[in-house]
Amino acid sequence: MSGGTEVLSEAEEAGATIVLRDVSRWYGNVVAVNGMSFTAGPGITGLLGPNGAGKSTVLHMLSGFLQPSAGEVTVLGEPAWGNPGLYRRLGLVPERESVYGSLTGYEFVRLNARLQGLSDADESARQAIRLVDLEDAADRSTGGYSKGMKQRIKVAAALVHDPAVLLLDEPFNGADPRQRLHMIELFRKLAAEGRTIIFSSHILEEVERLAERVLVVVGGRLAASGAFREIRRLMTDRPHTFTLRTSDDRRLAAALVGHASVVGVEFGAEGLTVRTSQLGAFALAIPTIARSCGVTLRELRPTDESLEDVFSYLVNR
C-alpha cells in the first residue's frame, strides 16, 4: 500500500483493488478531502483519524455514494461513482445503525440477497447470519435489536453476496467486547481468503487490533500511511510534553535542561512543562535526576496524549 498526495506509480496501482488518484471532495466552501492518493489491495486496511477528519467521505466515495469533486476513485478497476453494477462485488456496512425495523433479521438479510439477484436468497441469508453468529436472534424484529446486534446484521447483509471488497464505516460502534472479538476474527478470516477490507475508526486500539495497514486521515489529508507498526513508531517517537509538579520546580528545571532527552522547559501556572524528544530515555532518567538533586516528584502528567494531538503531530511533522 502507498499513500500521500504524490502521483501513484504503475507498480503501486498494479494489483491494487482500490485506487484513489489525487481525490478531493468539497461541500461548498468546506474541503472534506484534499488531494488524497492511495492504493489498497487484499487484506485489512484501517482508515484512522479523529471525528470529522474525512474518513467517512473517503468511504462514501469508495462506495459510490459521493462523487469526487476532483480526481478519480476506482474499485476493482471500475469507477466507483455512478456504477451500480459494482455493488455485485462490493459490500458496504454504513455507520448509521438504522435497519428496516419492521423486518426480522433473517428477512432483512434475505431482502439484501434478493436485491443482489442471488438465485438462492434463503440459503445465502442463512449462511451470512451464521457468519455473524446471530442465528438465535434471526427471527426477531430488527427494531428490537441492540446496537451490537444491528451492527452484526448489517455485516451479514453486506456479506450475503460474498463480495470481493468490503467497506466498513465504524463497524464496532455499540459492539460489546465479545461481539467485537468475534467480528475481528471474522474480518481476519475474510481478509485471509483474499478480500479487500477497508474500515474506518477513530479508536487507535481498534485499528491496532484489526488493521494490517493503516491510513491516517486528518483534516481531509492523508497524514501517514503504512504498516501499523510504522505508524505506532511515528506516534511513539514524536516529541512528548509533560507537566510536572514537584517540591522545587526551579532546581529540577536546572537539572533537566542539561539532559539529552529534554528539548525544552517552561514554568507555568500548573507547574513545570517539559518537552522531550526521546520518551523512553526521559521516562528512565526523570526519577534519577529528581533524586540526585533532592527534589520530590508529586505529579507527572502527559499533556498531549489525546488522539487529536497525535494526529496533529503526524500532519505537521
Binding site: T57, F65, P84, L92, Y100, L115, G117
Partner: protein, 245 residues
C-alpha cells in the same frame, strides 16, 4: 426486481403509524356521506356527491394529502433514516427503484382513497341514478393518484423538504393560484383528475364543471408522469449520500 422493491416499500409504509392515521382519515368521506343522508335536506344528491364529496373533499384534499404522505415517504423516509443505502448499494437500475417506489405509493394511495370514496359515493347516491359518477371518479382517482405519486416521489429525490414542497404545491398552487389565474390549471393534477372524471360522467355542467378539456388533460397527465419519473430517475442516478445529506 420492481415487485421486490414495491412489496418492500409497501411493507415499510404500512408499518408506519402515520399510514394508519391517514387510513382513518380516509374514512371521513363515508362519515360525511352518512351524515348527509341522515341529516341534510338537500335533495340534489348527484350535485352533492360530485361537488361536495368528490371535488370538494376527496379530489381537493384527501387525494393530494394521501399521495403526498405516501409518495414522499416511499423513498424519502428511507433516505431520511439512512436505510436507503441498503437499496441503493445494490446492482439494481435506478429506473427499477423509482418504478418500484412509484408503484407502491400509487397502490397505497389509490386503495386508501378509492375504497372509502366509492362507498361514500354509493351512500350519497342511494335512490338516484349515478350517471357515471362512481365509475368516472373511480377512474379519475386512480389516474390522479398516479400523477400525484409520481410528482411526490420525484420531490423526495430532489429535496429533503419534500413534504413542505408538496404542501406548497397542493395548497398554494392548486388551492390558491389555480383559482386566481385560469392558465395555471394546465399544471394542476387536481384539474386533470376532474377532467378525467368528466369523460365518464353524463351530467350537466352545473353538476360537474371540469375546467380542462378531457383530451388536453389526459395528454398533460401522461406528460406529467413521464417527466416526473424521468427526472426522478435522473436525479437518483446522481444521488449522493454523505455528510451533505
Amino acid at each position: 426486481m420492481i415487485g421486490i422493491i414495491a412489496v418492500m416499500t409497501l411493507r415499510q409504509l404500512l408499518g408506519r403509524s402515520r399510514t394508519i392515521l391517514l387510513g382513518l382519515l380516509a374514512l371521513l368521506p363515508i362519515l360525511l356521506a352518512l351524515a348527509y343522508r341522515i341529516g341534510s335536506e338537500d335533495t340534489d344528491q348527484q350535485k352533492w356527491v360530485a361537488q361536495v364529496l368528490f371535488d370538494g373533499l376527496i379530489v381537493t384534499v384527501l387525494l393530494p394529502l394521501l399521495a403526498l404522505v405516501y409518495g414522499t415517504a416511499a423513498l424519502g423516509a428511507e433516505i431520511e433514516d439512512g436505510t436507503a443505502v441498503y437499496l441503493l448499494a445494490k446492482p439494481v437500475s435506478r429506473t427499477k427503484i423509482i418504478i418500484g417506489k412509484l408503484l407502491a405509493a400509487w397502490a397505497l394511495t389509490s386503495v386508501t382513497v378509492l375504497v372509502p370514496g366509492l362507498v361514500a359515493g354509493w351512500i350519497g347516491l342511494q335512490g338516484v341514478p349515478g350517471h357515471g359518477l362512481l365509475v368516472g371518479f373511480g377512474i379519475a382517482l386512480v389516474t390522479g393518484s398516479l400523477v400525484y405519486s409520481a410528482l411526490f416521489v420525484m420531490l423526495s429525490v430532489i429535496t429533503s423538504r419534500a413534504l413542505i414542497a408538496g404542501l406548497v404545491y397542493v395548497f398554494i398552487w392548486e388551492g390558491l393560484i389555480n383559482g386566481l389565474f385560469a392558465g395555471t390549471r394546465l399544471f394542476s393534477v387536481r384539474h386533470y383528475t376532474l377532467a378525467v372524471a368528466d369523460i365518464f360522467v353524463d351530467l350537466p355542467r352545473t353538476v360537474l364543471d371540469a375546467k380542462l378539456g378531457s383530451v388536453p388533460a389526459v395528454v398533460l397527465m401522461i406528460a406529467a408522469i413521464g417527466a416526473t419519473v424521468w427526472y426522478a430517475i435522473r436525479r437518483l442516478r446522481r444521488f449522493e449520500i454523505g455528510e451533505s445529506t
